[in-house]
């Protein structure tokens, strides 16, 4: 642990301020709470919102897991873990069940999380209405007035034009029939995991200076029409080449030697666990 800096890097006042914003976010699920985002030694846009949440919550009893795109070993996940270790001494793990705080970018773990765990998601663009309205001043009003017609219209236009809703990740959700929320760039595959979950989901956007939350057992519905149901990414007929699983989110890979295309679980720790059980 680097003794030149305070425990968990930020000064205690800043951490307390961030925790207060988190409490407000938990009290109003799906509402984006503004906060005085601090500058970190890690780049804005590289997960600084998530890191600030993690730093403000973490204590000596915690165990931290960090994943990026589902992987524990991805460069950015490794880098964030290294930074938190540098200023806390908190043990890290790759086991989803062992962690008390999991920070993630672009994925929700395949193993369902429990009620004593927190999933911290890194968010590049917290505003779900940004795709229809670039001005913050306007989107803030739209949320206040629950004026969500433009985003519904966009979904409808997509249906007319392509016969499909073409949003990939960042598929907007309605939280407790009040706020439309951006689930961060998780694939649609992960959206259903947000609904009525056991764990607390915290979303941090450092550059955009917003925090929002989905507390346990909150109703979260992905936007869809009565006659056109919500549809996840499909990996029909494909399975992980390592563990053989057919029900996980898969990364598409090319073997540069043979030119063959194959698939592999994006959640590396889950994939490893399945393989361990088989052997």
């Amino acid at each position: 642990m680097n003794k030149n800096y305070n425990y968990a890097f930020l000064d205690e006042g800043s951490k307390r301020e961030i925790r207060r914003s988190i409490l407000k976010a938990v009290a109003i699920p799906g509402y984006q709470v503004p906060f005085g985002s601090r500058e970190l030694p890690i780049g804005r846009g590289w997960g600084t919102g998530g890191i600030q949440i993690t730093l403000s919550l973490i204590g000596p009893e915690d165990t931290l897991k960090v994943i990026d795109q589902g992987s524990d070993d991805s460069v950015n996940a490794v880098n964030i873990k290294k930074f938190v270790r540098l200023c806390t001494d908190v043990p890290t793990t790759t086991d989803t069940r062992e962690a008390s705080i999991i920070q993630t970018r672009h994925r929700v773990p395949e193993i369902p999380m429990k009620n004593d765990q927190i999933l911290v998601l890194q968010v590049p663009i917290p505003e779900p209405l940004r795709i229809v309205e670039p001005r913050e001043e306007v989107t803030k009003k739209m949320h206040a007035e629950k004026d969500y017609a433009p985003i519904w219209l966009q979904l409808y236009e997509s249906l007319i034009k392509y016969k499909k809703i073409t949003i990939g990740t960042e598929y907007p959700c309605m939280v407790e029939n009040r706020y439309i929320m951006n689930p961060s760039p998780i694939p649609k595959f992960d959206n259903p995991k947000l609904n009525d979950s056991q764990c607390l989901y915290l979303f941090g956007a450092g550059r955009e200076k917003k925090i929002y939350a989905i507390p346990p057992h909150t109703k979260v519905t992905s936007l869809a029409f009565d006659d056109v149901p919500f549809e996840k990414e499909s990996f029909k007929g494909k399975k992980c080449r390592l563990c053989g699983n057919e029900n996980t989110y898969l990364d598409e890979m090319f073997d540069s030697d043979t030119g063959e295309k194959h698939y592999q679980c994006s959640d590396t720790s889950y994939c490893k666990e399945v393989r361990m059980k088989c052997h």
Binding site: K164, T166, S256
Partner: protein, 354 residues
């Protein structure tokens, strides 16, 4: 598979950092902090200004650490800054009390207090001086010091602003001093419409290139076109903090070098014309940035349809750290999101073929 989300990331990072050290090592000669601080003073000023932290020593250190990259140096200073507790807030500084080292006006030949050209590259010919390849730095320094010692110090006299006269004449509107606590963008989320204090703070910390480009767009026609630099002054201002035991007293903690600009534009005033004033103030000798700031301050106040007249557009996109952070994040793996995008594209095409 390069830096793929497969194991090995940790070692790759270690090696990458080791390689940076190799690049930084460069040659046998050390780059002394004193050298950076004193001989790269304008670079140091630029870094301090964009970082919003006035420390020549740390700016020099940051530049040394990152091979002279301004955005990396700003990054280091900003990150360091967020670990510091705010113990005091200084009293309000009145820049009329500036110890001026340069002062010019493009509006009037004669100004009260006079113009002082000071040091400027404006009238140099930009010819590479090959003599500098083999310069006797010690001799140059001693000669400069000797010249300085021979001068008799002039009495410091404080100057009113050029705009003061125009205000007296009623050509520029006079406002009451607004001394309410400024909106601090480093501790709060900037909201729109933005208060002027938040605009000025954001602009003074903005990326120099970004606001220079924006101001240039104003001059070329995407705005109110051509303002006049009413006054540009560079000099030292003294900082004081309140003395806790006695409200009447304050404690002097040091001085900082700043550049301040007032730029004038024509403005409507019912059925006649008046002048309006844009304001810029930045750390160090950062003249073009200060002018650009004054130009944009005025555009934001004026409002309109051009990009420079929208506070959200200007203030949200000019922070060195934020822009470079988000641009550089594009280098991170996006396998999951791209897979999802691919899935959506493939699905629509399958439909089309049916």
């Amino acid at each position: 598979m390069a830096y793929v989300a497969v194991s090995g990331g940790e070692e790759a990072i270690e090696e990458s950092i080791a390689l940076l050290k190799y690049y930084r090592s460069g040659s046998k000669k050390d780059l002394e902090l004193e050298t950076i601080q004193n001989k790269m003073a304008l670079l140091v000023d630029k870094v301090m200004s964009e970082a919003g932290l006035y420390s020549k020593e740390y700016a020099a250190l940051a530049l040394k650490q990152c091979e002279g990259s301004t955005e990396e140096a700003v990054f280091l200073l900003r990150a360091y800054r967020s670990t510091l507790k705010r113990t005091y807030y200084t009293n309000i500084v009145n820049t009329k009390d500036m110890r001026i080292i340069r002062r010019i006006s493009a509006a009037f030949k004669d100004i009260q207090g006079g113009q002082i050209l000071g040091a400027t590259y404006d009238y140099t010919h930009r010819l590479i001086d090959f003599d500098l390849e083999h310069e006797d730095a010690a001799a140059l320094y001693e000669e400069s010091e000797k010249k300085l010692a021979e001068e008799t110090p002039e009495k410091v006299h404080f100057c009113n602003r050029v705009s003061d006269g125009l205000k007296e004449e009623g050509l520029i509107d006079t406002f009451e001093e607004n001394n309410e606590a400024p909106f601090d963008v480093t501790e709060n989320l900037l909201e729109f419409p933005s208060p002027r204090s938040a605009r000025l703070q954001t602009l003074t910390r903005a990326d120099t290139g970004f606001i220079s480009g924006l101001a240039y767009s104003v001059l070329r026609g995407f705005g109110q076109v051509h303002p006049t630099v009413g006054e540009l002054r560079t000099g030292y201002v003294e900082l004081e903090i309140p003395y806790l035991l006695d409200n009447e007293e304050s404690i002097y903690i040091g001085e900082i070098l700043i550049t301040e600009v007032e730029a004038f534009n024509q403005a409507d005033d019912k059925d006649q014309l008046k002048l309006a004033c844009g304001y810029g103030a930045v750390y160090g000798r950062n003249e073009n940035k200060a002018i650009a700031m004054a130009v944009i301050d005025r555009e934001l106040d004026h409002g309109g349809d051009y990009p420079t007249q929208s506070d959200e557009f200007v203030l949200m996109h000019g922070d060195c750290l934020e822009m470079n952070g988000f641009i550089s994040h594009l280098k991170l793996p996006h396998y999951v999101t791209f897979q999802s995008k691919l899935d959506a594209v493939r699905k629509t095409r399958r439909k089309d073929n049916e």
